[in-house]
Amino acid sequence: MPEGSAALQLNVGDRVVYPNQGVCRVAAIDVKEVAGQKLTFVTMRREEDGAVVMVPEGKILSIGVRKVASAADVEEIYAFLRSDSDKADLDWKQRARTNLDRMTQGGILGLAEVVKGLQVLSELRPLPTKERELYDNARHLLVMEVAAALGTAEANAEDSIDIVLFPPGRERPKRTAAEFARPGGEDEDLDLDSDLMGLEGGELDLPSDEEPPAEPEEESAEEGAEEEEGGEEASEDAPKKRGRPPKAKPAEEGEPAAPKKRGRPPKPKPEVTAESAAEPAAPKKRGRPPKARPPEGAEPAEPAAPKKRGRPPKAKPPEGE
């Protein structure tokens, strides 16, 4: 028997939760021959719309399929949602990574953490579209699982969650960015979307104890660095950060870093050989190239008379006549 099925014994008719899909019911467990191998497949039918998924029994645990939470688990969820402990990370990359993990591997508590985290974040500023969708997905999955765990209607499950999140008779509090600050955190101000906060990029600038404004050459160097980094970030589909660009790395010991110039990069230098190393190459002069010199062995030609301007002199008459 595969390792995965040892920890999660499934029978036909069991209710399970497939990560990111919702509550499913095990419809069948049967052996099928695929590519010459006999594999045990668990067939699950999603309760919401009847969609069917077949998973090899050995991959059940690695996918994250689990049993539906119990009523005691749901009570813990209510306690967690009621608490004011969970603050979302302001670094969007970190937050997206964490939320993705919570959605797939976190169980019902992970779903509640995503809902709570994004709900608290929305009290600071409106959620971006992608996170609003994530919030809706997480809420949907949480509601469905709570409804399945308590055996109640989905509307009642949602209301029971929201009574905790939005207590009756009370408005939601307004949050400040300071509440989200983590002790010892470095990037506290990195992810405040200035558009959503109604602030310009300059207002989110670093504190005043930073170094004086860089010179234009340094700026161009930083811009060049940003352009280079842009290629990497584009692959991750990351939004551009506003505000002050990151500091340029300090130059290596001794030599100050040459400012990076815009435009075409310099041509690669020819390989240094022994001959070329002995004779340093003359610096390339601008303008018309000098005329080719005659070979050394040949007689030197008479220097050409300087060309005179104006009319040529008249020929002199022969003397002695």
Binding site: S122, R139, H140, N156, S160, E171, R172
Partner: protein, 170 residues
């Protein structure tokens, strides 16, 4: 199609205005489809869930959404995490919802709030969840600011409801 079924007498003009509001919000037809009787044995405040299950005599097609409208109070629901104030109740993704106009005397008196609650219940029938935006009709209805808002959806909820309606039509 949205079918408004009254459980108590209402003014026709007010109902027509109410239907126009629903039509504007969802972009699907809305009409008053007659009245029905509250099941015998049920007394005020009405149990919303039981009412939805037991009310008879409603004629509707499969993809129609039925909104039962009453002037009687609904009983607050006891939920595992507390008591939920109940102005209306809808089964998520199903076809029936109930809404009370209480504590208002008629539709006109508290029109804005009633229309907002109606949008909330019908939104639940179209599989919308509660929203984070206090201006949206899908915001939790027991919050103090809910009754002061307009009967509109936020962009996210409007797009989602339109998508669900399109899917239902196709």
């Amino acid at each position: 199609m949205i079918r408004v079924v009254t459980l108590d007498p209402f003014d026709d003009k007010q109902l027509a205005k109410f239907n126009r509001t629903l039509y504007t919000a969802f972009g699907v037809g809305s009409e008053h489809s007659g009245s029905a009787e509250v099941p015998s044995g049920m007394s005020e405040p009405l149990d919303a869930e039981k009412l939805l299950d037991e009310v008879k005599g409603i004629r509707a097609y499969k993809d129609d959404k039925v909104l039962l409208l009453t002037s009687r109070k609904l009983k607050d629901r006891e939920l595992p995490s507390g008591k939920a104030p109940t102005v209306g109740f809808a089964r998520y993704g199903k076809d029936r919802a109930v809404l009370t106009i209480a504590p208002y005397k008629d539709l006109e008196t508290g029109y804005k709030a009633i229309a907002r609650h109606a949008l909330h219940q019908l939104g639940t029938l179209w599989e919308l969840h509660h929203c984070l935006d206090p201006r949206c009709s899908m915001y939790p209805p027991w919050t103090p600011s809910f009754n002061q808002g307009d009967h509109i959806f936020c962009t996210f909820c409007r797009e989602k409801s339109e998508q669900k309606i399109r899917l239902a039509k196709s």
